[in-house]
Subunit: 172 residues, 2 copies
């Protein structure tokens, strides 16, 4: 019962990508620098998010990553499952029928009650994560976090984001 270290990085990156405007992108190296992480390793996780359809990657100069859909449609569950895998944390190995006195298979037709209870708990866990939308995370950060921190994050994104060629920068 231990989540990968990359989950934290992935969520922070997604939150940071929520700050880029329009179709602009943010290089993975910039995000790695922002969080003091190894660039090559962060790319691995960002790649997993891309494979899961949460991010889009743009190669070449002025390339980077962007969110694949609106922040309201991205939940923490999506990110966690993309990094940790979709398999349940508790996998029933059916050890109840691994003993020497194995009964007929029909005796194990009913599901293992322990597995049922564990699955129920995991459903509660996933449901709570599914209710946490990325838009909520970002909004809460804007509202509650220290203004200095918010300003610093915004400045960092402004400094490193690469506007896409078909998009024009609206401000400045």
């Amino acid at each position: 019962m231990k989540l990968s270290e990359g989950v934290e990085a992935a969520i922070h990156c997604a939150a940071m990508l929520a700050g880029v405007e329009g179709q602009g992108t943010l290089p993975g190296a910039a995000m790695a620098e922002a969080f003091g992480l190894s660039p090559s390793y962060l790319l691995k996780h960002l790649n997993a998010l891309t494979a899961a359809g949460i991010l889009e990657s743009v190669p070449g100069p002025a390339g980077g990553y962007r969110l694949a859909r609106a922040t309201e449609r991205i939940t923490l569950l999506d990110i966690v499952l993309a990094i940790e895998g979709r398999d349940p944390a508790f996998r029933c190995g059916e050890i109840r029928q691994c003993g020497p006195a194995r009964l007929d298979a029909s005796a194990y037709a009913k599901p293992c009650g322990i597995n049922v209870a564990m699955q129920k708990a995991e459903r509660a866990y996933r449901a709570a994560l599914a209710e946490a939308r990325l838009s909520d995370i970002v909004a809460k950060h804007m509202r509650d976090a220290d203004p200095r921190s918010v300003a610093a994050n915004r400045a960092f994104v402004e400094r490193h984001q690469r506007p896409q060629k078909s998009t024009k920068q609206t401000e400045r």
Copy 2:
């Protein structure tokens, strides 16, 4: 996000120990055989349960393990935490302040919103596990599982349990 394999074994062992009468004990080797596991490795997990105060161990011949308290007072959460450790699955490394532009510590007084959301989900998970009492698991098994399986389990316990010297066997 992957639970240890031993969690399943630990819960099954606890459920099996719920079937012993009075102060009787069940050797770890017997349980390992019942589930087709390595005896030495299962002992490791049973030891963790003992350290957590869920089981009691009796050394010497006619020794073994027994539940340390009533089945109504043992939850799946107790067992999972004993095996997996009490630390939360998601540990916030505070990477938000690991970047090169570290602000003053006062700017990070408010807790990380991502950490809050993850902790909330984990509380839901643990709450669901805390509601699953061992007595419920056993009762459900007695009621719903195939009668052949129930009988086989009961017979196995009867065959391997060691009555404590101060306790007299009530049936037979």
